[in-house]
C-alpha cells in the first residue's frame, strides 16, 4: 500500500505534462484577458443589439438576454464555449491518451515490470493530471480578476472563485471519463476521438434542450446542464445536484477503470 502513496507515476505524469500545462495556462490567460478586456468597446453595441428578435434567434445560447452585461458577456464568450467546451476537449484529449499511449507505445510492459499494480497506474495517471487543471483554472481566474479591477467593472469575486472551484470538479469529471476510455481503448487516437465526441455530444444535447421544451430531458445527460456559470457568477447560486453529478461521475469512472484495467489482457502487437 505504501507504494501507492509515493505517487511516483503521478509525479512523472505531471512532469510529462509540464509544458502542456504552461501552454494551456498561457493560452487561457490570454483568452480571458482578451474577452474581458474587449467588453467596454462592445458594450454600447451589444446594448443596441440585444433586443427581443436577437434573443429569439439564439435560443440555444444560455442567458443570451444578459449579453450586454459584463457577467453575461464573460459567460457567453469565455466560459461557455472556450472554458467548458474547448478546455474540456483539450484536457479530455490528454486524459484519454494517458494509459492508451503506454499500451500503444508498448512502454506499459516496462512500467508494469516494476512493483506497481494496475489499479495504482489508473489512479496515479488521474492524480497526475490534477495539477494541470488547478494551474490552468486559477491562473485564468487571476487574469479575469485583474482585468475586472483594471476596467472597474462590477463582479462578485467570491462568486468568481466559486465558479473556478466548481470548474475543478467539472474538469476532474472530464478527466475521469478520459482515463476510463484510456483504460479500455488501446489506440490513443481512438480513445481521444471518443472523448471529444462525448464532450461535443454533451454540448449539443444541452443546446438542443434549451431550444425546444420537448427535448428538455436531453439536457440531463449533459454536464453543462449542471453547471450554469452565469447563475453562479451573477447570483452565487450553486447547483447542488451538479456537484453530486461531477463527484459521482469521477468516482464511478475511476472505480470502473481500475477494475477493468486490472482484469484485462494487455496485448502488444
Amino acid at each position: 500500500m505504501n507504494t501507492i502513496f509515493r505517487l511516483k507515476i503521478a509525479l512523472q505524469t505531471m512532469k510529462d505534462h509540464g509544458k502542456t500545462t504552461l501552454i494551456l495556462a498561457l493560452l487561457f490567460m490570454a483568452m480571458a484577458a482578451m474577452y474581458a478586456g474587449m467588453f467596454p468597446s462592445f458594450e454600447t453595441m451589444l446594448l443596441d443589439m440585444t433586443d427581443a428578435a436577437f434573443i429569439e434567434s439564439f435560443p440555444f445560447l444560455p442567458h443570451i438576454d444578459q449579453m450586454h452585461t459584463y457577467v453575461g458577456f464573460l459567460t457567453l464568450e469565455l466560459y461557455n464555449i472556450f472554458w467548458l467546451l474547448l478546455l474540456a476537449i483539450m484536457v479530455g484529449f490528454i486524459a484519454a491518451s494517458s494509459i492508451a499511449k503506454e499500451i500503444e507505445g508498448k512502454t506499459i510492459d516496462l512500467l508494469l515490470s516494476n512493483p506497481v499494480s494496475r489499479k495504482q497506474i489508473v489512479i496515479e495517471k488521474f492524480v497526475g493530471l490534477i495539477p494541470m487543471v488547478i494551474i490552468v483554472n486559477f491562473s485564468t481566474m487571476v487574469v479575469v480578476m485583474g482585468i475586472t479591477v483594471a476596467l472597474n467593472e462590477s463582479l462578485n469575486y467570491a462568486n468568481l472563485v466559486v465558479v473556478h472551484l466548481i470548474s475543478v470538479l467539472y474538469f476532474l469529471a472530464v478527466i475521469s471519463i478520459g482515463v476510463l476510455l484510456s483504460a479500455i481503448i488501446d489506440d490513443k487516437m481512438k480513445a481521444s476521438i471518443v472523448m471529444i465526441a462525448i464532450l461535443v455530444g454533451m454540448f449539443v444535447m444541452n443546446s438542443v434542450s434549451l431550444m425546444t421544451a420537448d427535448y428538455e430531458a436531453l439536457g440531463f445527460l449533459s454536464f453543462l446542464h449542471y453547471f450554469d456559470t452565469f447563475t453562479v457568477l451573477q447570483f452565487g447560486e450553486v447547483d447542488g445536484v451538479g456537484l453530486v453529478v461531477f463527484i459521482g461521475v469521477t468516482v464511478v469512472c475511476l472505480i470502473v477503470a481500475m477494475f477493468y484495467f486490472e482484469k484485462r489482457d494487455i496485448e502488444i502487437t
Binding site: 507504494t3 509515493r6 508498448k106 516496462l110 499494480s117 482484469k263 496485448e267
Partner: protein, 338 residues
C-alpha cells in the same frame, strides 16, 4: 550454526553474531550499550525451495486462437534457462502470461513460491524483465528514465554503477535519439540494476554487437554464480548453447523438449565423419549412414568403440567425431513435424 548481521534498533550499529536456528541470545550493543535479546529464525523458515519458477499446465488462448497449451516446467534457483522456439511458437506469450500481462485461460504458475494470480506486485519486487519488443520513453533522457524507474523500484541499486560501466549509454541524450543497441543496453541496465532474484528476458541480445553480447554473457554467468536465476527466450542457438544450463523447446504452443543441454547432447549421440582410402561403398555402417563425396557420415549413441574397431580394417585418411550442436538438435525437433 547460523551467522547473521544484526543492526542495533537504536543506533543502527551492525554486529555479526552466530547461533543455532531458533536460539535466543542476549546482546549488548557495543556502541550505545543498549541491552536486548535476539532470536535466530527457526530452521523451517531458513529452508528454501529450489524451484523459483513453477509452471503447471499453463494455457493461453486468444479467443479461439491458441497461444500456448499445457506448458509445465520448473526452473531452479541459480539456473540459466533457455527458452527456444522459432518466431510465433509462443515464447512471448509464455513470458507475458507468466508476468501477468495476460491472464491464463487455464493452469497456474508460481514465481518465488507465490501464485502469479494474486501476488504480482510482490513478485515484481524481486524480478527484472526485458521485453522482447523493447520500447522506452522517448521523451526522457536515459538518466531521467533510470531515475524514474529507481523511484518506482524504491530499493537499493547495487549493480547500477557496474552496469553503466559495462553497458555504456549516453545518459544525457533523449532516448528517442538512441540506436537500437543503445536502447537494448538501457533495457538490460534497468532490468538488472536492483540485482533481482530472477530476470526474465525476451530475446535480449537482439541489437547488440558481438562484443557486447560477449560482455552480456559474462555478466549473466557472474549473476548465475551469485545464485540469480535467468530465464530467457531466444532463437539464436549458439548463445543458448554457450550459456544455458537447461533448455525448453516450444513448438506450436507446446513444449516438445525440456532437458539439460549436456544430457540432450548425450542423448543425441555423436556424429562420426570418416574418409577412407578404400571405396566408401565397401564400408557398411548403421542404417542412418550417409555418403557425401568421399566422406562417410553416421550417428552413434554409445557404441563408438564398436565402430572404431570396424573402421580399423580400413585405411583412414581423416576422422572427425563431434557432438551435435544445439542447432542440429533444434532442426531435429522441427524436422518433419511442422
Amino acid at each position: 550454526m547460523l551467522t547473521m548481521d544484526v543492526a542495533c534498533p537504536k543506533c543502527k550499529f551492525t554486529i555479526s553474531i552466530q547461533g543455532n536456528p531458533g536460539e535466543r541470545i542476549e546482546l549488548t550493543c557495543p556502541e550505545c550499550k543498549i541491552h536486548g535479546f535476539f532470536k535466530f529464525p527457526p530452521e523451517s523458515s531458513t529452508q528454501q525451495t529450489d524451484d523459483v519458477i513453477v509452471v503447471k499446465n499453463l494455457t493461453k488462448y486468444y479467443g479461439k486462437i491458441k497461444g500456448i497449451e499445457d506448458l509445465t516446467f520448473t526452473i531452479k534457483k541459480g539456473e540459466i534457462f533457455g527458452f527456444l522456439g522459432p518466431n510465433g511458437a509462443g515464447k512471448t506469450t509464455t513470458i507475458r502470461t507468466l508476468l501477468g500481462y495476460l491472464s491464463p485461460t487455464k493452469g497456474d504458475a508460481y514465481i518465488l513460491g507465490k501464485n502469479i494470480a494474486d501476488n504480482m506486485v510482490d513478485i515484481k519486487r524481486k524480478l527484472g524483465y526485458i521485453p522482447g519488443d523493447l520500447n522506452l520513453y522517448g521523451h526522457l533522457t536515459g538518466r531521467q528514465f533510470l531515475n524514474y524507474f529507481e523511484s518506482l523500484r524504491n530499493t537499493q541499486l547495487p549493480l547500477l554503477a557496474e552496469l553503466l560501466q559495462v553497458f555504456d549509454v549516453p545518459l544525457d541524450r533523449k532516448i528517442k535519439g538512441y540506436s537500437r543497441g543503445m536502447k537494448q543496453k538501457l533495457g538490460i541496465i534497468q532490468a538488472f540494476m536492483d540485482d533481482p532474484e530472477i530476470v526474465i528476458m525476451d530475446e535480449p541480445t537482439s541489437g547488440l554487437d558481438p562484443l557486447l553480447q560477449q560482455k552480456f554473457y559474462d555478466f549473466l554467468r557472474h549473476q548465475k554464480k551469485k545464485g540469480r536465476t535467468i530465464f530467457f527466450s531466444s532463437h539464436v542457438l549458439s548463445e543458448v548453447d554457450k550459456i544455458c544450463d537447461r533448455i525448453g523447446i516450444i513448438r506450436n504452443g507446446s513444449l516438445v523438449a525440456l532437458e539439460d543441454v549436456d544430457t540432450l547432447k548425450q542423448k543425441m549421440g555423436k556424429l562420426i565423419r570418416v574418409k577412407i582410402k578404400e571405396k566408401p561403398e565397401t564400408f557398411t555402417g548403421p542404417k542412418t549412414m550417409k555418403r557425401t563425396d568421399d566422406w562417410i557420415e553416421f550417428v552413434t549413441n554409445d557404441d563408438i568403440d564398436y565402430w572404431i574397431k570396424q573402421l580399423s580394417h580400413y585405411t583412414i585418411l581423416d576422422l572427425e567425431i563431434h557432438e551435435f550442436s544445439l542447432e542440429d538438435i533444434f532442426i531435429h525437433y522441427y524436422e518433419g513435424q511442422t
